[in-house]
């Protein structure tokens, strides 16, 4: 009897995505805590982890939602970086903080619209279309200020970018967590959230059942563009300067975290809860390697390996469901 219960608990744990993920997170934290002799869970270090989560979360929401809807966007890094530069430029030109913010976000939305038009109207493959947009936005980012960085001297930007509650929790992370919560609730409980899963699962069947896959696609790309703009602007605010590298290197972290969190590239599966844990796993992992002094070259290699593991788990889970059918 007891054994049977244990068995069913184990199979439940293995079947439940969330539990697998939480366990993976616990393992990552435990391993690094042990190796670093406790340095990993030092408050100072936890503060760093929190800080690093902010930007990745925004990119993860955008990229993750696209992936649920069956799309991919490789231009998020370029777009966000360009928007950070444009917002900084607007500030320097004398625009008030809210106007600079709006200009940056609208530019991000426009880049998203551009992608959606390429894909929906001109029928480009998402991969190709967004790869081109990535290059275009990155180029435009250089053009904004001739490839030079633009310093930001604005009290509101500085406050959001650098201040912390009780000198521990950065204000910017509140933005990320609130957004994660809103998007999570929306995905699971609203008609729009549901249509994303359905369109991602089968756009043809969704269309023939009365949904509007094209509309969903526009919204997803515009949403991802705007969120990456927000990420680019927040980074600039934190560094007190917008440069041309911006968030380019972080866009793949966004996708990696989404995949780690159980959002599969095939579309139609995953959610924001998993994504949050994916973000935590990724950032704890990256930070942990820093703490235990793995050289940065090997860190990059290890990040790739982590992504491979995530994909392998996803693949195993999917193939098991398929076999069961």
């Amino acid at each position: 009897m007891k054994q049977k219960k244990l068995k069913s608990t184990i199979s439940y744990v293995f079947k439940s995505k969330m539990l697998t993920l939480v366990m993976l997170l616990v393992v990552v934290v435990a391993v690094f805590t042990i190796i670093s002799k406790g340095q990993f869970v030092d408050p100072k270090n936890l503060r760093n982890i929190l800080q690093s989560i902010t930007l990745v979360s925004l990119l993860t929401i955008g990229a993750g939602m696209l992936m649920i809807g069956g799309y991919v966007d490789l231009s998020l890094g370029g777009t966000g970086t360009m928007c950070g530069l444009i917002a900084a430029y607007a500030l320097r030109a004398g625009a008030p903080w809210y106007l600079a913010l709006i200009i940056g976000l609208v530019t991000g939305a426009l880049a998203g619209t551009f992608n959606a038009v390429l894909i929906n109207e001109l029928k480009f493959q998402p991969f190709i279309a967004t790869l081109s947009t990535a290059s275009i936005t990155q180029g435009l980012g250089y053009i904004v200020n001739n490839g030079q960085q633009i310093d930001i001297d604005n009290s509101v930007f500085n406050f959001i970018g650098t201040q912390r509650i009780a000198d521990f929790v950065p204000y910017s992370i509140i933005i990320s967590l609130v957004l994660l919560l809103i998007y999570g609730v929306m995905l699971k409980n609203t008609k729009f959230g549901r249509s994303m899963y359905l369109v991602g699962g089968n756009p043809q069947a969704s269309l023939l059942s009365g949904l509007h896959p094209k509309r969903v696609s526009y919204i997803l790309f515009i949403n991802a563009g705007s969120l990456s703009a927000l990420a680019g602007i927040l980074l600039a605010a934190r560094l007190k300067t917008a440069n041309t590298t911006g968030i380019v290197n972080q866009q793949f972290s966004g996708m990696t975290a989404a995949v780690l969190g159980g959002i599969s590239f095939g579309g139609g599966a995953g959610g924001m809860g998993g994504a949050l844990i994916g973000i935590l796993i990724l950032n704890c992992f990256n930070n942990g390697m820093l703490i235990v002094r793995v050289t940065s070259y090997w860190q990059t290699v290890a990040s790739g390996a982590l992504l491979l593991i995530a994909l392998a788990i996803d693949f195993l889970r999917v193939s098991r469901t398929k076999k069961a059918s």
């Binding site: 609203t190 359905l198 699962g201 023939l208 059918s325």
Partner: protein, 494 residues
């Protein structure tokens, strides 16, 4: 030549797919494998083709025990299985596909002239009219299948198995297929033929093995059995004459839909009217434009000219959502590709068109959603322990019922129901259930458009049958006057 199965068993988690299957297939004869969905036919084919391994028992070819660890082993041993999903490379030519994996080479370079000659030889052997350099993707489904048969023949396969080869062929194409099969039989090959269609079994096969629940329940020479005996063996009960037993609607209401001079990319000047409570059948060869007509009526294809009038009012459609709002529902031809979101639950598939009607403020009302799905489950007897089950795990018949349940949940006022090949790949028992459902819809005053490639079915179910050929309607016949030959003549315009 002789292929023998003895004591073959195979279990999957939770299911004994095959138990103790034993029978013998002789060279120069066509053996039918008959059984309802889930009877174990596909599993048996997969064992033959080396996709999966049997747990117990053996497969012997000419007295030699075979053991395949991959499909390649089976091909090398001389066994080819031709599946419903074609395993060809669409962008490559006919000759490259026929000789795939074994292209003639001179000094390491492909000898295209020899390739063409050899391919032409095979094509001539079967008396087909296709060019060896034609890309396979441009051929019709029927000819693609011919290419696959030629590929199996070219490999020198001694055993060729067909899995539902006529599922997507029209009647005229079937006769070409049968000619090929007879050629192969004359050469002494062992031929295994899996199909649901009774008429074909009697036309083409010599022996019949009936599977039920993973066991061989009966086997006879085809000449010594009857359809009734076979059905009884397959389902374990007597079905009798399905169509005569249907409880039909006899009273039609006023005009529901008028289609006037409809033109789309693939439809040329189609006009017809449908009354409330009437069932209109559409027959024709695959690609005749039947699906395109209903896609236009459903707002899925662009209408170039012509008019749709529903209940006396002109109908303007930008997207299927508009058609649904006007009371039109479509069960599409390809359930898996166009009908269902396979990796979502039954519940979620049923509620798609009514999501905005089951909201509490901003949020979806899950209780209502569950109630809709439970309603569909009990109304159509969808066999599943829970409506949380993924649709992909259901059988074809149950999947079709989920789509029907989607349109008839009570939240939509459906006036026109379009069914495109609703019984494709569905077993005999469930087919009869679906026919009765169609009649029940008509009784409720719903106008039904019923597309089917199976002549007996379209004649047996519809009140009026429209026949299409190359995008045009070539004639219409009332049920009482319809014959298979008459419809075929209209469909082929010969």
């Amino acid at each position: 030549m002789q292929l023998e199965f003895s004591g073959v068993s195979k279990a999957f988690p939770g299911v004994q797919a095959l138990s103790d299957i034993s029978f013998r297939a002789e060279g120069g004869r066509v053996l039918a494998l008959l059984g309802e969905n889930g009877a174990g036919k596909s599993t048996l084919l997969k064992i033959m083709s080396g996709d999966i391994r049997a747990d117990e028992g053996s497969v012997t070819l000419d007295g030699q025990v075979q053991s395949f660890s991959s499909p390649n082993d089976a091909i090398k041993a001389g066994i080819s299985v031709i599946y419903q999903e074609r395993q060809l490379i669409p962008a490559m030519s006919v000759m490259e596909n026929i000789f795939a994996g074994d292209l003639p080479r001179t000094a390491g370079v492909i000898n295209r002239q020899k390739l063409k000659r050899d391919a032409q030889e095979v094509i001539d052997k079967f008396g087909l009219n296709i060019s060896p350099s034609e890309p396979v993707g441009r051929l019709s489904v029927a000819y693609q299948q011919m290419v696959e048969i030629m590929k199996a023949y070219r490999r020198g396969s001694d055993v060729i198995a067909f899995d539902e080869p006529t599922a997507s062929l029209a009647e005229s194409e079937i006769s070409i297929l049968f000619k090929l099969i007879r050629e192969l039989r004359a050469e002494g090959k062992v031929i295994i033929y899996v199909s649901h269609r009774m008429a074909e079994i009697f036309q083409i096969t010599d022996d019949i093995v009936v599977l039920k629940d993973g066991r061989t329940v009966a086997s006879f020479p085809t000449a010594e059995t009857s359809e009734a005996t076979l059905i009884k063996a397959m389902v374990g009960r007597d079905i009798g004459d399905t169509y005569a037993k249907l409880d039909r609607n006899t009273e039609y209401g006023d005009t529901l839909l008028e289609v006037q001079n409809l033109v789309t990319k693939k439809v040329k000047d189609v006009s017809f009217t449908l009354r409330r409570g009437e069932i209109i059948g559409f027959s024709g060869l695959v690609g005749a434009g039947r699906t395109e007509v209903v896609r236009a009526i459903f707002g899925a294809d662009k209408i170039l000219s012509g008019e749709l009038i529903l209940e006396g009012k002109p109908l303007k459609l930008k997207a299927p959502a508009d058609a649904i709002a006007a009371g039109i529902a479509l069960c599409p031809e390809d359930r898996k590709e166009q009908g269902l979101v396979l990796f979502r639950s039954i519940k979620e598939n049923v509620s798609i068109p009514v999501l905005s009607r089951i909201r509490k403020l901003l949020f979806l009302d899950r209780k209502q959603e569950a109630a809709l799905a439970d309603n569909a489950r009990s109304k159509y007897k969808i066999s599943t322990p829970s409506t949380d089950k993924l649709v992909v795990e259901l059988s074809g018949g149950n999947q079709q019922k989920v789509i029907l349940g989607r349109w008839t949940s009570g939240k939509l006022d459906i006036k026109l129901l379009i069914l495109d090949e609703p019984t494709k790949g569905i077993d005999v028992g469930t087919k009869a259930e679906i026919y009765q459902m169609v009649c029940d819809f008509a009784k409720q005053g719903i106008g039904v458009i019923f597309i089917s490639s199976e002549l007996t079915e379209v004649i047996g179910v519809s009140d009026t049958i429209y026949v299409m050929h190359e995008g045009k309607i070539t004639g219409n016949v009332k049920r009482g006057e319809a014959t298979e030959e008459g419809i075929l003549a209209l469909a082929m315009q010969s």
